[in-house]
């Protein structure tokens, strides 16, 4: 049942806040809202409130994200995209050459084979020589017999030294060096002094 008093409808249930909000949110127009001045006023008040909140919330966020900041953000996103699309090259170390010709591989194989053969031959020779030396029982005495005694070697060297000295003393003297020779002590004098 509904009456109209001074232009206002009475006796009809008004829209709830939720219904007003849905009408505002979804753009639906309730038949009652079209006719009820009270609900229209409430709807308008709600709209103003929500508009104000929206404007302030947007202003608050826009104050933080200024145009400069957004430009920097855009540039940053693009840089990161570039890095995704063109990732940095990873250089492996040590790097193996790719596409080595087969002939090179064969040559390298021969070099390795020759080196191994050389090593084996060297080892075998070493072992054989060692075994041969160990098979000579008189090896040690022989070497002792062959070696001259240290006394003999010393006497030989002393004799040679003295003979050299005599040769030097008896050698013809150079007249120009005679004065110098007179000034310096002779080897023979020094040696006799030392013996005494």
């Amino acid at each position: 049942m509904m009456w109209q008093v001074f232009g206002y409808r009475v006796g009809q249930r008004h829209l709830t806040d939720e219904q007003l909000l849905v009408a505002w949110q979804e753009g639906d127009v309730d038949a009652h809202l079209d006719e009820c001045a009270s609900c229209q006023a409430r709807s308008l008040e709600l709209r103003e409130f929500l508009d104000a909140v929206q404007a302030d919330a947007v202003a608050e966020a826009d104050r933080v994200f200024t145009t400069e900041r957004l430009a920097a953000q855009h540039a940053h996103v693009m840089r990161r995209l570039d890095r995704t699309l063109h990732p940095a090259r990873v250089l492996s170390f040590p790097a193996l050459r790719r596409g080595i010709p087969v002939s090179h591989l064969v040559a390298r194989r021969w070099v390795a084979l020759a080196a191994a053969a050389g090593l084996i031959i060297g080892l075998a020779t070493g072992v054989a020589v060692d075994r041969r030396q160990s098979l000579w029982p008189t090896g040690g005495t022989r070497s002792a017999a062959v070696q001259p005694s240290s006394i003999e070697r010393a006497s030989f060297s002393d004799e040679a030294f003295l003979s050299d000295l005599e040769t030097a003393a008896l050698a013809p003297r150079v007249e120009e060096l005679q004065a110098l020779d007179d000034l310096t002590p002779h080897v023979r004098e020094v040696s006799t002094t030392l013996i005494r």
Binding site: D17, E18, L21, V22, A23, W24, Q25, E26, G27, V29, L33, D34, Q40, S43, L44, E45, L46, R47, E48, F49, L50, D51, A52, V53, Q54, D56, A57, V58, A59, E60, A61, D62, R63, V64, F65, R69, L70, Q73, H74, H76, V77, M78, R80, L81, D82, T84, L85
Partner: protein, 215 residues
């Protein structure tokens, strides 16, 4: 009374342009022309970064983290462009990626704060009211009052429960329909409406006549 409309609806022209751009990106990516796809994607970034930054800021409440979340979301969107279906507008698909990223970051922040003391709340900066008013046609007093009102509204929004706040922001601030908010948040349409109504009721109680007051 004039017919009421959806608050700040997402322009259809923008969505049509998005549809063209996304189709071009998909085709270029499938043809292996990634550099050209990147160039097209740069346009999408330009078109959506402001809105994305706003949403991320409301989630993260920290400008630097919001910035990083937006960048990550764009990169993820580019990488997974093959998974984009045409039945949803690009911005809904992208916003979902962004929101998921923000939620992950919030979780990670919670874990971090369990071990390390949280950073002191960083205000977004309070510029001098005279400087803020310059070039806006407002007096410094009006600018100051406007800032104070912004602060009160931001504070009231922070007092809303997480879901109500998100639904309110997506619906009333960003202008998504209930169906789109449902697609973004994973809630069904009627739940979105319930959250939205509760958020509005609480905000009205908290703000009184602050929001409706003109500068």
């Amino acid at each position: 009374m004039s017919r009421v409309g959806h608050p700040a609806p997402v322009p259809a022209i923008g969505r049509e342009a998005d549809a063209c751009t996304t189709a071009a990106i998909k085709a270029l990516a499938e043809a292996g022309r990634h550099d050209e796809a990147r160039e097209q994607f740069a346009e999408l970034v330009l078109r959506h970064q402001r809105r994305a930054s706003r949403i991320a800021l409301h989630y993260m409440r920290d400008a630097a983290e919001a910035d990083e979340a937006v960048q990550d979301a764009f990169l993820r969107a580019f990488r997974h462009f093959g998974g984009f279906r045409d039945d949803l507008p690009f911005e809904v698909w992208f916003t979902r990626i962004l929101i998921n990223g923000c939620l992950d970051r919030i979780k990670a922040r919670g874990r971090r704060e369990r071990w390390f003391p949280p950073r002191p709340h960083v205000d977004f900066g309070s510029p001098d009211p005279i400087e803020a008013a310059a070039g806006t046609g407002r007096t410094p007093e009006e600018a100051l009052l406007g800032r104070e009102r912004c602060r009160l509204i931001a504070s009231a929004l922070r007092q809303l429960p997480e879901r109500q706040r998100v639904v309110f922001l997506l619906s009333q601030v960003e202008g998504y329909s209930s169906r789109e908010v449902g697609a973004l948040t994973g809630l069904n349409e009627s739940t979105v409406r319930v959250h939205l109504f509760r958020a509005v009721r609480k905000l009205r109680r908290l703000l009184g006549d602050v929001a409706g007051r003109q500068d």
